[in-house]
Amino acid sequence: MASSVSGTRLDNATALGWYRQIVMIRLFEEAAQRAFRQGKIGGYLHVYSGQEAVATGFLDAFRDGDKMLTAYRDHAHALILSDDPNAVMAELFGRGTGLVKGKGGSMHLFDAAHGMLGGYGIVGGHIPLGVGIAYALRYQQTDGIVHVYLGDGAIHNAAFHEAANLAGLWGREGLNPTLFILENNQYGMGTSVERATAMTDLGAKFDSYGIEHEKVDGMDLEAVLECAHRVTQRVRETGKPYAVEAMTYRLVPHGAGDFLERYRSKDEVRQWRERDPIGLVERKLLEAGVVDEQRLGEIRDEAKRIVDEAVRFADESPEPPLSELHTDVYADTAG
């Protein structure tokens, strides 16, 4: 888990925990990209660089007993909840020591013990699951809530609309503590929001289902933290769904095959880079006089050591045994 700092301000020394986290996620993603280029990670790789403040902020408000589901850009969520970069990297490497013994890979991380009920590679497919889990949590009279992360691309998917409708409906009776976190990074793969819908105020789509919502600056960790703690408490107390549209940006290509980025201009990327969430955190910490440049450098080094160790661990881990192919298909083939 991220940190147990009280409050949501970046004006005290405990806020350095968030800084270490957000830097570690960025370095982890960069290491994953390098490993992909080296052929150590295969298939598809979608990294989170630029969006770190969203998962870091919202999962700071995640409690034991809560559940979380997200789409395929899921490394950060798994890193934060599992607190086990070695197992996450090993999963990307497809090794037997990975979070899912190498059966999942980048887009399909899973860590049940820590409430991470998966990254999902079918866009929108996980949203109904989250709403159903939320129903079960209230049916069982717990105070857990479900974080359902989705991208701006998923909101046009039928599964979203069917699930959001049910969430609103069941929430009317206090039976649906689902927190929808819409990570609007402006592009569904290479198609911009304006080119995907005539109604570009994506948060307002929740109005159709009686779900209240707000926007937050997803590049500003402090803003996300404040929002996250406030709205998770609200969802927990009311049992009603709520949605936050986090305005954010993917500072890197969609995936490894997207290096040309024909759908967006270099200027646009440059402008967003000025609001890189890590840079924003650094400025706030420095302005508040919490740290100096040297201390920030030390923290970055600590994060780098963690990531280097994760890469080494993954690289040296064994492949999963071939017997794993046939395990965990049914209850009687559990491995």
Partner: protein, 359 residues
């Protein structure tokens, strides 16, 4: 008709195959009350819900209306709206949220009104429910039952007649059952609800009220994955499931009377897992096998059974394995003569069986 079907063969020796329900003999069955298929499913679901608070029912009109076929009648009144959920018309939402409930400790029994309507939920069933155990390192299972009426012969035409069960049989992680009798409906539904994996429970809509049969009272379980030998024979085998079990049994009686052949009839009951042992044993014994499916023929359950026999019983065969299945056309037509031409019935099965016996 069902009286005859209930003459199940008890001679099973291995311990795991003498599971409860399998050895229920004739005498016991005949003392049991007669129930229609729809009554049996209703009563079983109600009794299961009384015994287990984790069971919730959800689907279109399952609550106040009691279900499109009235399978869930009275459940809303008895168990309330937190356990019997009327949903909007949103199959992906129904199955998807039911998966979520199952992941978090409930035992959802979802109803899709017709198997024809399940297509929008395919993503949820095939991509999520079927794979969750495998992808989650066995940390999660999906104890979900999806009850669905299927099958034709009721003038339902394009979207109220389909038999697409083979798609689910082709999906590892799912289980698929299709009871042909009220007793098996009870036993299989109990087993499906207790199963830790997602089970598609197919209810032939033509059988709902057209058949009655004895249903054992109290705990009566039919393990998933066990076929039922409806009647024993030595000259040929007919393998079927669902409504076709009854048509096959009629056809076997006709051909036996005409030719004197001794014909074995096997009701698969469970399409996945498939009872390969029973099917192969029967094929080896009779040497002649006809496989019947109401579904379109290519890549059907009949195809799978035929392939299994070709691999495992080839040297015992006295004739090529035959299939009788629906033609490869996109719909069950509405026009009664066209529908009749599409559907498999005792007459068509008997025609094939005569050729097989004479081979």
């Amino acid at each position: 008709m069902v009286q005859a079907l209930e003459r199940s063969t008890p001679e099973r020796s291995t311990p795991e195959r003498t599971a409860p329900g399998w050895t229920a003999g004739d005498a016991e069955s005949e003392r049991a009350p007669q129930r229609s298929l729809v009554e049996s499913i209703h009563d079983t679901l109600r009794d299961e819900m009384r015994a287990d608070e984790r069971i919730v029912v959800l689907g279109e009109d399952v609550g106040r209306r009691g279900g499109v076929f009235r399978v869930t009648a009275g459940l809303f009144e008895e168990f309330g709206e937190a356990r019997v959920l009327d949903t909007p018309l949103a199959e992906s939402g129904i199955i998807g949220t039911a998966i979520g409930m199952a992941l978090n400790g409930l035992r959802p029994v979802a109803e899709i009104q017709f198997l024809d309507f399940i297509h929008p939920a395919m993503d949820q069933l095939m991509n999520e429910a079927a794979r969750i155990r495998y992808r989650s390192n066995n940390d999660f299972s999906c104890p979900l039952v999806v009850r669905v009426p299927f099958g034709g012969g009721v003038h339902g035409a394009l979207y109220h007649s389909q038999s697409i069960e083979a798609v689910f049989v082709h999906t590892p992680g799912l289980k698929v059952v299709a009871p042909a009798t009220p007793a098996d409906a009870k036993g299989l539904l109990r087993a499906a609800i207790r199963d830790e994996d997602p089970v598609l429970f197919l209810e032939h809509k033509k059988l709902y009220r057209s058949i009655k049969g004895p249903v054992p009272e109290g705990p009566h379980d039919v393990p998933l994955g066990l076929a039922r030998v409806v009647q024993e024979g030595t000259d040929a085998t007919v393998v079927a499931y669902g409504a076709m079990t009854h048509e096959a049994t009629k056809a076997a009686a006709t051909v036996a009377a005409e030719t004197g052949a001794s014909i074995e009839v096997v009701d698969l009951r469970s399409l996945k897992p498939l009872d390969e042992e029973t099917v192969v044993a029967s094929a080896r014994k009779t040497g002649k096998v006809l496989v019947v499916a109401e579904a379109n023929r290519p890549c059907s359950v009949a195809s799978e059974v035929a392939a299994l026999i070709a691999e495992e019983a080839f040297a015992y065969l006295d004739a090529p394995v035959m299939r009788v299945a629906a033609p490869d056309v996109p719909a069950t037509p509405y026009s009664p003569p066209l529908e009749h031409a599409f559907m498999i019935d005792a007459e068509k099965i008997a025609a094939a069986l005569r050729r097989l016996v004479a081979y």
